[in-house]
Every structure is written in structure tokens, then in C-alpha cells.
């Protein structure tokens, strides 16, 4: 009962939200009210319950992962399936960490992801500023070359990139994990699109006050474009964190192993101990899952803003 009442109240709230933001004109708002009222006669309770059920089913694999990570090896496979084992074996986590240094992998991955993100942001901002705000010969054709490379799948460059790393003696180094993916055109493109929307007048008045390009970029453009930078930062970080194919190719040493690769190693060396494997999987998934839950508001906006879908 209470939840139903709460439901209709929230319902009314969000309905007025949508008409308010999208309607614009008073007339549209008016009709909106009428129709929402008519539509609301079917209570969303059933729909809400079914959706919750779908969500629970969807989350079941993750829940099962966590539950299995707390069981003893023998309790993983039972018919009928049991949610919990005899006791909650948190020791599985320390056992998994003893077996392979996941702490080290986390630090490696964090270092790679943070450094990669910083380089990406800085170089993308500089290039995007040039493409969006400066006039120079060949600007548009050069930008088209940048864009053209966005079409090329990673797999095309992976083979020669491996040779380059090999030539440089960079196999099993952090620079091999970071640098190849810190200069792709996507960041430049995303930021440029955003920079273009910033009114030219702001920049002109700054110029009259004697500001150079560097000051215009750092003190005017960057603060205004902060949301675009945030979106780019989060997605770059996540891409680095989850990257698998490239680390698989250029590293084979614990000193540079990243989390996804560590999980793969664990699978190879300890494939039968499912409880420890699930503990390791939980460890590998927790950071990005938490990041998304914390930043959800911005992420949703960012995806809407940039159309970063489908990957």
C-alpha cells in the first residue's frame, strides 16, 4: 500500500518533470497533464514488479559470483543450488590474493589507467583547441585524417604495434601498455565537438584583455568544458582498466600484469578452484562497478551527450 502511494506520488513528480523540461510551452504542459492523468489509471505496480524481477534475473550472475566466492570448493556445485555454504569463507579472498598478487595487479592497472587518461586528456585538449579554435592551413583535411582513423578497428594496428614495441624493447613495460592508446583521435574529436559550442565572444573579450591561447584554453575553455572532460576521463579510464587483448600481447610478466590479464592467468593456473576464481573475479569487477555506481548521474548524461554507445 505505502509503496503504491509513494509510487503514484513519485509518478506525478516525474511526469511533471518531463512535461516541464520537454514541453516548453504552456499549452503543451496543459495537455501533458490531462493525458498523464488518463494514462495513470493503470497502476504501474505490475510493470514495476516484473521489471524488478527482470533486473534480479539480470543481476543473478553477479550475485552468484559473490555467493560462490564465499563457499568452500565442495559447496559450489550442489543440486538443488544453495545460496550459502556452511559458513562464509572470506578467507577465499586472501587465498586468491596469496595465489596471485591481485593487489599488485590493481596498482599496475590503476597506474596504467590514470597515466593513460591524463595523457589522453592533455593531448586531446591541446589538439581539440587547435582544431576548434585556431585557423591554419590544412586544418579541415588534417582533422578528416584524424576522424578517418576512428573507423579502424584496434585489431588492425595491433600487429605492427607489437613489432614497434618489440623494436623499442618495450615488451613488459608500462609505456607499452599506456602510450599506444593515449593518442587515438576519439578524445580530440569529442572535445572539439564540445569546444565548438562555446561562444566565440568569451574568447574575444579575453583576447582584448591580452590573454594568449594558452590562457584562453586553460582559464576559459577547460572550466566550461569540464563535463566533456569528465566523460572522456571516465571512459578512457574504464577502457584502460578493462583492456585485455593488448596486455595479453605485450606483457607476460607479473610486474606489468593488469587485472583482466591476472584473472586470465588465474583461470589458467587454477581453473578448478571455482570459489577462489569467483573471489578473483569479484576483486577484478569491484572497482569499475563502484566507479559507475558512484558516477552514474554523469555517465548517463555523458552517454546521452556523446552517443558513446554500442561498444
Amino acid at each position: 500500500m505505502t509503496s503504491e502511494a509513494l509510487g503514484s506520488r513519485r509518478d506525478a513528480l516525474s511526469a511533471s518533470d518531463t512535461t516541464g523540461s520537454a514541453g516548453g510551452s504552456a499549452a503543451a504542459g496543459g495537455t501533458g497533464g490531462v493525458v498523464t492523468q488518463r494514462r495513470r489509471k493503470g497502476p504501474p505496480v505490475v510493470s514495476q514488479l516484473l521489471l524488478t524481477l527482470a533486473l534480479l534475473l539480470f543481476l543473478a550472475p553477479l550475485a552468484w559470483m559473490v555467493l560462490s566466492s564465499l563457499k568452500s570448493a565442495g559447496e559450489i556445485f550442489t543440486t538443488p543450488p544453495k545460496l550459502f555454504g556452511e559458513s562464509l569463507l572470506f578467507s577465499n579472498y586472501s587465498d586468491a590474493l596469496d595465489f596471485l598478487p591481485f593487489g599488485r595487479f590493481m596498482i599496475n592497472t590503476a597506474f596504467v589507467a590514470v597515466t593513460g587518461t591524463v595523457i589522453t586528456l592533455v593531448t586531446s585538449a591541446l589538439s581539440a583547441y587547435a582544431f576548434a579554435r585556431l585557423r591554419f592551413k590544412g586544418r579541415d583535411s588534417l582533422f578528416l585524417v584524424y576522424l578517418g582513423t576512428l573507423m579502424v578497428p584496434q585489431e588492425v594496428v595491433v600487429v605492427p604495434m607489437f613489432l614497434i614495441m618489440n623494436q623499442l624493447g618495450w615488451i613488459n613495460t608500462f609505456q607499452a601498455l599506456i602510450l599506444p592508446w593515449a593518442f587515438t583521435a576519439f578524445g580530440t574529436f569529442l572535445l572539439r565537438q564540445f569546444f565548438l559550442t562555446i561562444p566565440k565572444e568569451l574568447e574575444e573579450s579575453a583576447r582584448i584583455d591580452g590573454a594568449g591561447h594558452w590562457r584562453i584554453l586553460t582559464q576559459i575553455i577547460v572550466p566550461i568544458a569540464a563535463p566533456a572532460f569528465a566523460v572522456l576521463a571516465v571512459f578512457t579510464f574504464i577502457t584502460y582498466w578493462n583492456s585485455f587483448l593488448w596486455p595479453l600481447i605485450v606483457t607476460n610478466d607479473v610486474s606489468t600484469t593488469t587485472v583482466p590479464l591476472g584473472l586470465n592467468l588465474f583461470l589458467g593456473q587454477n581453473g578448478q578452484a571455482w570459489n577462489l576464481l569467483m573471489a578473483a573475479a569479484t576483486i577484478s569487477m569491484a572497482p569499475t562497478a563502484l566507479l559507475v555506481l558512484l558516477l552514474q548521474r554523469y555517465l548517463v548524461k555523458g552517454i546521452a551527450l556523446s552517443g558513446l554507445g554500442g561498444r
Binding site: A15, A22, V35, P80, P153, L263
Partner: protein, 315 residues
Amino acid sequence: MALTGAVRVTDATDPTASPAPPRGTRRGDGRAASAFLLPGAIGFVAFTAFPIVASLVMSFFDWPVLGDPSFVGFQNFVELFTTDPVFKTALLNTAVFVLLYVPINIVVSMGLAVWISPRIIGRRYYRVLFFVPAVTPMVGNAVVFGLLYTPRGLIDSTFQTLFGVSAPNFLGSSSWALPAVVLMSVWQGFGYNLLVFSAALDAVPPSLTEAAAIDGAGPVRQFFSVVLPLMSPSLFFATVLTLISSFQVFVQPYILTGGGPGNSTTTLVMYLYQSGFQNFRLGFASAIAWVLFVIIMALTAIQFLGQKKWVHYDQ
């Protein structure tokens, strides 16, 4: 992502959209521009432009990791399409994966986006929770599904309990393995499109569906005649991007099945990886990469040509 760019650039390079130089200012910013572009451009040339060209060149060579490369012309490509036994299977598996994955992904994400309407309480949280596996390492997701799929795993034991029969041995059966990989992939990946479609749905002005309702259109008619055409640009881009990414499927079969049983889940990228980094035939692997690239380019071009028929950019 790429394609969003490719389309928008036409707007952006058009003189009205690109920032007009302030009247009466200097000739150009050539020197400043080179300073701003240099750091990115060096990396871009070294790690993007050069490797792309190098990859094409390498595809015409027999290129071992150790020893000297030798020019072989089209021989790698000829081998792929005539004598190579695995390539055809990999091509076919990839095609089947794409044909299953893309429609299911789009239908599921669109269906849920519509379902999570403004009437649903906490809709933001539903969206984000469905999105979580899309940002957790795919290796982790695949490992978890390995536990679910394995004989005596959760799916099998649930089958035993409910029906008294075993579930199929998903990953051990050459007919079930690929669908099992598709299912896991849909589970992990549809969250992106869900968010994209949700954003597009939110942007549909309610006045239009209301007008349709007043004209007597039911919810289904409203969706297909009003909402879907308005969302068609999002649908178009989501389809293009999902298609591109699904051709690159690698991690899921690599972790779940290792390409097996037999070669029943070997995909193009997995075969590329095996050829280049397990058999050390770098030229041959580059040839596979270019076949993949050409397929992706061709299908993308077809979609762009076809979009005039169904994508509406004007409201």
C-alpha cells in the same frame, strides 16, 4: 563512436558551423596551431597512422617474428580464401555471432528502455544497474558465465531440480557453444544501448504522443508511428556501432571456450590472435585484420547509404 564523428564532421567543417575567424584579426594561427597539435600529432603518427599503413604493408609479406620478412604479394589473402581450413569457419562463426547478437541486443535494449518509462520508480537506478556489466572487465563477466554454464553449474543444477534433466553442456557442445557466447555477450553489452535509447526516449516531446493518442492511436501505434521515427538517429548510430563492435568479438569466446569445441566458436579476431601471436605469422595475421576491416567498412557504408530510407533527422 567513429561514425558519430564521420557524420557530424560534415556539419562541423561546413563554414557556418566552424568558428568564423574574428573579423580583422591576423592571418592565421599557424605557429600556435603547430605548438598545440605537436604532442598529440607525434603520438598519433607513431601509434595510429603509421601502424595502419604498416599493417596493410605487412599483409603482403610473409613476416615471422624472428627472421626476415619476404614479400609474397596477395598470397596471404589467397591462402585465407582458398586453402585455409579455419578461416572460413571463423568467418562463418563471426557472421552468426553478429546476426544473433546485434538484433537481440537492439531489441532487448530498446524494449527495456521503453519499459523503464517515467512511471517506473527509481528509473535511473534500473538503467545504471543494467549498465554495470558493460563497464566491468569482460574477462570477469566471462569467467562468471563459465561457472553458470558448466555442467553442475547454476543453470544445470536448476534444470535438474526443476525438470529432473540435465541442461545441455553449453560450452562443451559445438551446437550450443556459440549461442551461449551470444547470450553472455548480450547480457554484458546491452547496457550501453539501453542508456542511449533511454536518452533518446526522454527527448521525445510528450506533446507528439499525446496528439497521436487524441487521434486514437494506441500505445503500440504511438511507439511505431511517432516515437520510433523520432528516435531513428539514435537507433541508426547504435546499430552501426553495435555491429562494428560485434565483428570484433574476442574476449568472450577466448575465455569461455578457447574457440572450441573444435573450432565452433573461433572468431575472426581470435584467429587473428592465434595466427599472429601463437603461430607468429604476423603478415598472415595482418591480412586477417584487413579482411575484418574491409567487411566492417563495407557494411558500415551500406548502412549509411540505407539510412536515407528510414532515419529522420528533422523533427
